[in-house]
Amino acid sequence: MTYYGLNTEKPLIMHIDLNSAFATAEQQAHPSLRGKPMGVTNRLSKECCIIAASYEAKYLGIKVGMRRTEAMAICPEFIILETDPAKYNVVYQKLVAIMKSYTPKIKMKSIDEGVLDFHGMEPVLGDRTLSDIGYEIKQRVKDEIGDWMKINVGIGPNRFLAKQAAGWHKPDGLDVIDHRNLVDYYKTQQLTDLNGIASRYEARLNSFGIMSPLEFLEAPEYELKKKVFKGIVGTYWYRRLRGYEIDDVDTHLGMVGRQWVVPNPTDNAKHLLSCLSFLCETTGMKLRFREVEARGICVWATYQNGEFWQQKRMHKTTYYTNNEVYRRALELFNQRPPGTVRTIGVYCYMLTPSQRSQLSIFEDVAKQDWLTKAIDEINDFYGTSTVYSAASLVGTRLVKQKIPFGGTEYFDLLLKRS
């Protein structure tokens, strides 16, 4: 028997994943859509993109990321709705409340998935296994959120294996992967079934003769580190595959920004500047929401002919107000080459904790801060863009904030504005 050096620790990590979260929430709210192929999009239009598809739609071959026309070609009865952030927030908040009632150590990975860490909770668990708790959470989701809501539960000794287990038997599955069934599990999977391994990593592994997860597991650490991944990532994968925790790290906030796809690509500077101004306003709001100040700024654009342009600048002093972000972004944006712009984006980097509480000896700096505080308070109280810069007049009407993918850091900010 081959010795793999697996982590034999009791599996105490639980991964919870809402099945087709947005689509299922809509089916929960609309009983007439249950059992039908349907999806959700951010902005309803002829060529809009599907951001969540129901299981009935997925069964027909309709995938997330498809255009509406492609989905309609597969299924002419395909139903599509616009997103409703407030509704998904209720589902999210209730899911978080359920998870927090079992352990204080939870981390939401995105709006529809989270991780519960039961380390240190063994005395509280008593005789109950994590599988018992998993089934109880499934039932509570049905009782407290809605009877149509289904979740996948995965249990493992580390975050990677817990997530793999959650995706093993979709929808509505509950699986445990530990040292006893890990090798058998890998035998049933493809390399791209592993989270974090997509086509490029697969090609790299294949070029070293690693064709399956089992061969990946059997590969020596030295080979992964020195040859395949050429770095510490190889060691991480070596340990991750064996059930050792690698991914319990807090991500560092590196940049804050906004980007926007221009619906009708244009070279009209007046139109683009108004949109840039609005993007800078939301970037400033994000900076203040995260309680940071920035020193660096980058503005970028993609052109209709496929070209990409970006310009970066580092400043000596930090900034956080909308006006300051826009002023600095404008200096760079005015240096762009001429052409029809398809996408524009702005982001701030070199972030440091906010020092707004310190009084400034310069009166104009203090005035800027008071003005920003006043505008933020008015917008918090009265809702979306009640007060905004005149430069953003056109942009405010055109650029809409929609559902954020990935992290949930800005969800509260989005809801204030929705």
Binding site: P31, K87, E144, Y382
Partner: protein
Amino acid sequence: MDPTIYINERIDVVLMFHANSSERLTCVPWKMRYKTREIEFTVFGMRHATQKGKRMVHVFDMSDGVNDYRLELDAEHLTWTLVSMVEGVR
């Protein structure tokens, strides 16, 4: 296709307040009158609270077994609005 029909009209609603039920079902619309028709709800979809400016609005997604209705209670003015409906297949 988007099956939503937008209505946005004030309606009469009869409510049920349950003393001993889960938080989800504490307050549930029972029936409504819309254009002289009385519609009784048989399925409770979801309720969520949201804000329109400073006003708190409670959104109820209800169904009479065939069609789905989105009702909004303006918590400041205590008015009920039938916002939209989705026609099901009978």
